[in-house]
């Protein structure tokens, strides 16, 4: 199953993003980012396995800055 990882800058953004998504019935999972860590120095990933466009729109509407995104396989 594929999933989409949204890169965010801080754990607060990740927690808030997860909360926003779950309020809209989109399950999300937080982990430390890997490749973004090198580029930006510290960061977190917010994984979702469905409703990618809706999830992105919800995060943006909540003012959560998405620093990048990447399609993943079997992340959840």
């Amino acid at each position: 199953m594929s999933s989409l990882c949204f890169y965010v800058s801080s754990v607060t953004n990740a927690m808030r993003g997860k909360s926003v998504l779950e309020q809209n019935n989109i399950r999300a999972f937080i982990s430390r980012s890997t490749d973004e860590t090198v580029q930006n120095g510290c960061g977190y990933c917010l994984f979702v396995s469905s409703d990618f466009k809706k999830a992105e729109s919800l995060l943006q509407s909540a003012g959560i800055r998405i620093r990048g995104k990447k399609q993943m396989n079997d992340a959840l």
Partner: protein, 389 residues
Amino acid sequence: MIFSPYNTVYFDNAATTWPKPLVVRKAVQKALTDYGANPGRSGYKMGLAASREIYRCRETAAEFFNLKNPSNVVFVQNCTLALNIVIKGLLRNGGHVIVSDLEHNAVMRPLYAISNYLTTYSTAGISPENTDETVEFFRRCIRPDTKAIICLHASNVFGTRLPIREIGRLARRHGIKFVVDAAQSAGVLPIDMQADCIDYLCVPGHKGLYGPMGIGMLLCGSEQLLPPFIEGGTGSYSIEFGQPSELPDRFESGTLNTAGICGLLAGMEFVKGIGIRQICEQETAHMRYIYNQLRDMKGISLYTPCPDISRSAPVLSFNIEGRNSEETAEALSRKGIAVRAGLHCAPCAHRCFNTISTGTVRLAPSVFTTEREARYVCRVIRAIRSELK
């Protein structure tokens, strides 16, 4: 009565509430045992678990004070630091602010420290019985260079309550920031950041929210980017030397006080469970009882009308004529009663009530205060008064 190892009947809750609820003590202990990792820095389970609890506290605080964005809840050491961040940030390029004549030194000392030919303040009087008049006093102080109104919600000495909703609307109409020092009101009086037009709310964790000492909050309703008070590691944007612009990281350099935050979360849930109105009514009932007892005693000075939920926080100041306030506090202490005397770090309020030379004895209950304790305090004050005859 609650007896501590010191056999104390505790009426110093305006300084810090005691005892802390069992749920708060358990939450602090759980944080130390289960959430021991540094939050916001790692991806392993315990680190994320600590981060989750901290975020839960932000969400709870945002809901508690009706702030839209939980990320705008900043954890700080205490209410004083929150006020320093806002005052020194808003006035970094000079300007004028308005304060009330009841302010605590947590507001007055930072203002005094930065006052110069560019940075000035005006003091607005309070008319406790007349909201319109109070608002008019503030309005008259507004100048073209006024940047903010900074005021407490309730006096830490006399309990006098300011009409923050009306003052907030005045500030909003004039396009100036509204900063509220909620040291004596958070958890006791209702605060709605949106309805009250509050741009910055400064809150202690260890008073009416029943958290531990060493934790406070700055809630930012304004999008204005204030300068950071200190810089350092935030666990975000680490490759950059510049401090992040995002909240809460902008003001949260260094490791957070996880145990304090977990205790504060439990404290807010405790307060929500009982209800602010219930707490205020219960505490005010004790103050009214004591006030009425003292009013009927000869040789007791009272400075305010009888405590009333609509115009005051449950705090009461008095003096025994012929004794200075510290002597009375000492006499009460000998009978196991904990109170605070003197100026309470609020010389402005004492000047306003003409008690600057004597100070006052302050009684402040908590949700744990009992009728029996209130009766005991009255009995002891009567006895101390009688010793003077």
